[in-house]
C-alpha cells in the first residue's frame, strides 16, 4: 500500500499518527495537496463507514453518505481549524447526513446481508460452520440493539485498535457515562443472545 509513495520524497506526515497525522495532512490539504487528502480518506473512512452503518443506513446508502461527508469536509476544510476536532466533525456530519437521507432502523436488511456475506467469507468445514452459526447469532443480537448502542459499540470496536484511540474523545458523551452506557448495551446484547438460545 505504501509502494506508490516510496518513489517520491517522503511526505511530511510520514510516520505520524493520530492528531499529529491529521494536523499535518489538514495543513497540506489546505495548500491543495491531494496526497494529503488521500491519506486522510484512507485513514478515516472506516470511522465514517461505521458511524453511517451504526445509524441505520444500508450498505449502499452508507457508501454514498461516506462520499458525501468527505466532499463536505474538503469543501469546508478552512472552517475546521483544530485537527483534534476532525474525528468529532466527521462523526457529527455523518450522523446528520444519515438522518437526512432517512435511515431505516430495521434489523431485517442486516440479517439478509448476513445471509449473503457469511457463507462466502470462509470455506465451511465442521468447526467453521459452528463458529459461523455462533457469529450469526452474535450479529443478529447486535443488529437488534438500539441504534445508539450499535453506534457506540462500533466506535468502541474501532477505538480498541491502536490508530483509533482518539475516537473515544470524539464521542459527544460525558466521559464518565460512556462506560456505564456501554455496559448496559452489552447487557441488552446478552439478553438478546439468551432469548435466541432457546430456539436451537
Amino acid at each position: 500500500m505504501t509502494d506508490a509513495r516510496t518513489a517520491e520524497a517522503d511526505p511530511p506526515w510520514e510516520g505520524l499518527r493520530g492528531h499529529d497525522l491529521y494536523a499535518a495532512c489538514m495543513h497540506a490539504a489546505r495548500m491543495g495537496n491531494r496526497a494529503a487528502m488521500d491519506r486522510l480518506v484512507a485513514e478515516l473512512t472506516p470511522l465514517v463507514w461505521q458511524v453511517a452503518r451504526g445509524n441505520g443506513l444500508d450498505r449502499h446508502t452508507a457508501e454514498d453518505v461516506v462520499q458525501t461527508v468527505w466532499l463536505a469536509l474538503f469543501r469546508h476544510l478552512d472552517r475546521l481549524a483544530d485537527p483534534r476536532a476532525l474525528a468529532a466533525w466527521l462523526i457529527t456530519t455523518t450522523r446528520r447526513e444519515a438522518q437526512r437521507v432517512g435511515a431505516r432502523p430495521s434489523p431485517v436488511p442486516l440479517t439478509d446481508e448476513l445471509a449473503e456475506s457469511v457463507p462466502s467469507t470462509q470455506p465451511a468445514p465442521e468447526a467453521e460452520a459452528v463458529r459461523g452459526d455462533r457469529d450469526r447469532r452474535l450479529w443478529q443480537a447486535f443488529a437488534r440493539l438500539p441504534q445508539r448502542c450499535q453506534e457506540l459499540l462500533r466506535l468502541t470496536v474501532l477505538a480498541g485498535r491502536a490508530e483509533y484511540r482518539l475516537v473515544a474523545d470524539a464521542l459527544r458523551m460525558p466521559h464518565g457515562s460512556i462506560g456505564p452506557t456501554r455496559g448496559r448495551c452489552l447487557k441488552t446484547m446478552r439478553d438478546l443472545l439468551e432469548a435466541q438460545g432457546g430456539s436451537a
Partner: protein, 153 residues
Amino acid sequence: MNEGLYPDDDTLLAELSRVVDEIDRPPAGLVERVQFALALEDLDVEVARWERADALAGVRSTGQGTITFTVSDLTVMINLTKVGLGHRIDGWLVPEGEYGVEVRVAGHESATTTADDGGRFVLDQVPRGTTQIVVYIDGDSCRRTVVTPAVVL
C-alpha cells in the same frame, strides 16, 4: 450458555469486534472511490443523492437501466445502454437548461457535452468503471457545480 461463550464484557467486545470486521467492513474499493470522487479541480460542489427505485433498492451496479440523482432543486436522470465495451448514456436534467455535463471514468479521459434546451444530453461510448457525473450550472444569479457520488457503472 452465553456466559460460557462470552464470560466477560472484554471477551464479548473482542468477538463483536471480529464479527463486525468480518461481516461489515467497508466495501472493497470504497477508499479508492472516495479518492476518485475528490479528484476534482474545484471542490466547491454540491453532492447529489442517488435515488433508488424500489426495484433497484440495494442494487448498485445495474449495468443497464435508469438511475436518478437529486440535489435540492435539481434532478439528474441517466439511462444506461450497453454498447460494446462501454455505455451509451442518455441523460435528462430537471429543471432543464443548457448546462455543461462531464462524465468522469477512472483511468479514462472525461467525456463532456452540453445539455440541450430541453435538458437532454447523450454521450456515446462511455467506458465502464468507477464513474462520477458532474453538472455545471451557469445560472443568471449563480454558478453551481453538482456532482454525484462515484459509482461503478
